[in-house]
């Protein structure tokens, strides 16, 4: 863990001093990170691709661990079959831990939300290899949901309401809804009581159970709860879909193998596409090309909400009104 603390203190040091040189340095670092990831040293020895190395796909704890296997084990099996390596699912319950594990090389690939990706990239320069193509779309949206029988008709009606968020580090369950509320003239933490439930499902369920008045969730979760007593009050602008991020220092061959497995082969082989359609609905649409710049809007969003520290502040600091 010491490396993480060191990294955090370095990053904090840079921003705290707020010197021009440091800012330039951060900018350079960012550029280098975005476009020349291999400048960063590998945190672990990379096993040769396709020689039965033991690899791990980390997934941010969107759900209960059991559900993670239910949803993602088929993708892991597919990677084992197609890459020649042995893949396993690495389930972590914590967004931060996923970041640390990928940066340290414990994970070879991680499936995470855009904001977490940006923090990871900030931390160790990890870059995406593909992004989700859920229901044929490389973007997704955040939905703000209320109970079907509630009086709310517009976002501005939510003034004074109790709002349920997922994790403070969640893009679609926190950042985007906060921006939407802000755009509607409601200042989270002042005109709105914020509550954090850690997961999209729990946030939505809090509204169902009446603990909260409204919630912001990822669209596939929101659509599920649209059948469970909630209705959609507002949809966000498109958000670049969830990336699969390769650990820093991964070889071009490894990236190529992943690209082939996740995009080229399904494009060529209808059997594989058909197989993917049997996977969880998040993954059933396959994968789409991605570049680091796709997430610049999210980066801007973070900047708007939290300033530059948004990418490095601990989760607790990102909460609105400081409550939870």
């Amino acid at each position: 863990m010491s490396w993480w603390n060191n990294l955090q203190s370095i990053l904090s040091g840079w921003t705290d001093r707020r010197t021009g040189a440091r800012r330039l340095g951060v900018g350079v670092c960012l550029l280098v990170t975005l476009f020349f990831p291999r400048v960063f040293p590998a945190f672990s020895e990379e096993a040769p691709v396709g020689l039965s190395a033991h690899r791990h796909l980390g997934v941010v704890g969107f759900y209960n661990p059991r559900l993670m296997y239910v949803k993602y084990q088929q993708l892991v099996d597919y990677l084992t079959e197609t890459t020649g390596d042995r893949w396993d699912l690495a389930v972590t319950m914590d967004y931060e831990e996923t970041v640390k594990s990928l940066c340290s090389g414990k994970l070879d690939l991680a499936y995470l939300g855009p904001f977490t990706y940006l923090r990871m990239h900030e931390a160790c320069g990890a870059t995406p290899v593909v992004r989700l193509n859920t229901k044929g779309s490389a973007i997704y949206r955040s939905l703000i949901m209320v109970r079907q029988d509630s009086p709310y008709r517009t976002l501005s009606d939510l003034r004074g309401a109790v709002f349920a968020f997922g994790s403070p580090l969640s893009t679609s369950s926190h950042l985007v809804p906060r921006l939407m509320l802000r755009d509607a003239g409601i200042k989270p933490g002042e005109g709105l009581t914020c509550q954090y439930f850690g997961h999209h499902d729990r946030a939505a369920r809090a509204v169902v159970m009446g603990t909260a008045d409204a919630c912001g969730v990822r669209d596939i979760v929101g659509e599920r709860f649209a059948k469970r007593g909630l209705r959609i009050l507002a949809r966000s602008d498109p958000i670049p879909n969830f990336p699969l991020v390769v650990r820093p220092g991964a070889s071009p061959e490894f990236r190529k193998v992943l690209m082939q497995a996740l995009m080229e082969r399904p494009e060529r082989d209808p059997e594989i596409r058909k197989r993917m359609q049997g996977w969880d609905e998040e993954l059933a649409g396959g994968f789409a090309p991605v570049s680091a710049s796709d997430y610049l809007p999210v980066r801007r969003l973070v900047g708007l909400l939290f300033g530059k520290r948004g990418l490095v502040d601990p989760a607790e600091l990102l909460k609105c009104g400081g409550n939870g």
Binding site: Y63, N64, P65, R66, L67, M93, G198, H199, M209, G210
Partner: protein, 490 residues
């Protein structure tokens, strides 16, 4: 309506089958319903109890902040419902506050659950209750608390459809009905076969008995069966043997009676016979005297001898008639002219009729029909009836005799206009030894024998009488082969 043995046996055995099957079916279905119901209650309780464990664990970890429930309970509910789709209609996880937190029935989420278990139910057995849904489905609801020791996280309610049990029981009911139907059909066939082997000899025996009852004493039943029916047939046969033996004795006795009666009639005719003999005898005597006086004249001798021979021949014929009539004979059936019999008997009784001042009128069928009969018995029959009529007309009168063919029968009537028979004794006149005359004036068998003769020829005799107006005896004899009558050969 009288039911035959076959029908009775059939109805009895099928009723027995229906009742037995009915009782078995009701008991079986009741037992089956009970055991299936118990099985589903046990299964429902087991499922609910086992299902409560991961739900409680998920709630506990969530509560402790160790592992987020985030979707697990809903997923588990979906899984359990999917795997028991035939049975589970709903699963509901209810918070301690009484509101539905998780369910596969989304419309219930967040709403108060109507049937509450509270902290007080911790440690108790699961509650079961049968509910009726709006569409008529019966639901077994099992409710149990979600707790570890006395720590209470709410409760779980699961609704199990009883429809599969009800359908299964209904299917068993149908199967039992089909089996009962098959058994009834099989029983019907077996009964029919059994009736043929068991009841047929009884029915055959019954048939023989009826024939025997109609007078055919020669019938015998098959007594080779080793069972009670065979014994019955044997007893019947022995009885028939005895009856036949008795009948033979009776026939002999009747024959003797008939002969006795005939002799009596001959006695009655004696005066007439004497008269018949006496007249030629007087002539013969006179001729013999005259012959003596005219021995020289061959012409006269020859003439007187001729007259003597004629007289003797007349006597011989008279005597021969009487002998013929009085001789005992076996019954011989042959085409017989009833008209001829009547003429002959009138000739034999001419003296009696004349001496009693009785006039005879006859209306005989001109076609002279022949019946198959015993010539001498027919003559005896007419003799009896004519003598009877003579005795009924002591002051003289008219004897009317007629023959006719009516409906394929020869009908003959012998009527007098005498004293008549009192109505009180009319039904006894054919009884043996019944007589209204003084002792020694008759045998009392005349009409009995007449009746016997007519019946022996397959005919019937009846009597009509009115006091001081006369009596009519009417008998009918069948022609051979029913309506056909024997034509007289020309």
């Amino acid at each position: 309506m009288r039911l035959g043995l076959r029908t009775k046996f059939f109805l009895y055995s099928n009723t027995l089958i229906i009742v037995t099957m009915g009782v078995v079916a009701v008991l079986g279905i009741t037992f089956e319903r009970k055991s299936r119901y118990e099985a589903i209650v046990n299964r429902a309780r087991s499922l609910t109890e086992i299902f409560a464990i991961p739900v409680t664990d998920a709630l506990m970890y969530e509560d402790l902040g160790l592992v987020s429930e985030s979707g697990l309970i809903e997923n588990t509910i979906d899984e359990v419902v999917r795997r028991n789709r035939d049975l589970i209609r709903y699963v509901v996880v209810v918070e301690p506050s009484g509101r539905v937190a998780y369910s596969n029935r989304w419309e219930l989420l967040g709403k108060p659950f109507p049937r509450i278990l509270d902290q007080g139910a911790v440690g108790a057995e699961p509650t079961t209750e049968i509910l009726q849904t709006e569409d008529g489905e019966r639901i077994l609801e099992v409710r149990m608390t979600l707790n570890i020791s006395t720590k209470f996280w709410g409760f779980l309610a699961a609704g199990f459809s009883l429809r599969p049990v009800e359908q299964a029981v209904a299917a068993i009911g149908k199967q039992v009905a089909v089996i009962a139907l098959i058994l009834m059909l099989a029983n019907s066939i077996l009964t029919a076969l059994y009736v043929e082997t068991l009841i047929r000899p009884i029915l055959a025996l019954n048939d023989r008995m009826k024939r025997a009852g109609r007078g055919d004493l020669s019938v015998r039943s098959d007594d080779r069966r080793g069972d009670e029916v065979g014994e019955l047939a044997g007893a019947f046969n022995r009885m028939m043997d005895e009856l036949e033996e008795a009948q033979k004795i009776d026939i002999v006795r009747q024959f003797q009676l008939a002969h006795t009666e005939k002799m009596a009639a001959v006695g009655t005719l004696a005066a007439g016979v004497a008269h018949e003999v006496n007249n030629p005898l007087a002539g013969i005597l006179a001729c013999s005297e005259n012959l003596e006086a005219a021995l020289d004249d061959p012409e006269m001798v020859k003439r007187y001898l001729g007259l003597i021979r004629d007289g003797l021949r007349r006597i011989e014929r008279t005597i021969q008639n009487l002998l013929d009539f009085s001789r005992a004979r076996d019954m011989t059936l042959e085409p017989t002219s009833i008209n001829h019999n009547i003429y002959h008997i009138l000739e034999m009784t001419a003296y009696q009729l004349k001496s009693h001042g009785i006039e005879v009128t006859m209306e005989l069928n001109s076609e002279d029909p022949l019946v198959l009969a015993d010539h001498f018995q027919m003559e005896q029959l007419f003799l009896n009836l004519i003598l009877n009529a003579i005795q009924a007309m002591p002051e003289g009168g008219t004897l009317s005799i007629s023959t006719a063919v009516v409906n394929g029968f020869l009908v003959a009537e012998v009527a007098d206009d005498g004293v008549g028979i009192p109505p009180g004794i009319l039904n006894r006149i054919f009884d043996p030894f019944f007589t209204t005359r003084e002792v020694g004036e008759g045998t009392g068998l005349g009409l009995t024998v007449s009746d016997t003769i007519v019946r022996a020829h397959g005919g019937s005799i009846e009597v009509e009488s009115e006091k001081n107006r006369g009596t009519v005896f009417r008998f009918r004899l069948p022609f051979p082969d029913g309506a056909a009558k024997l034509g007289r050969s020309t």
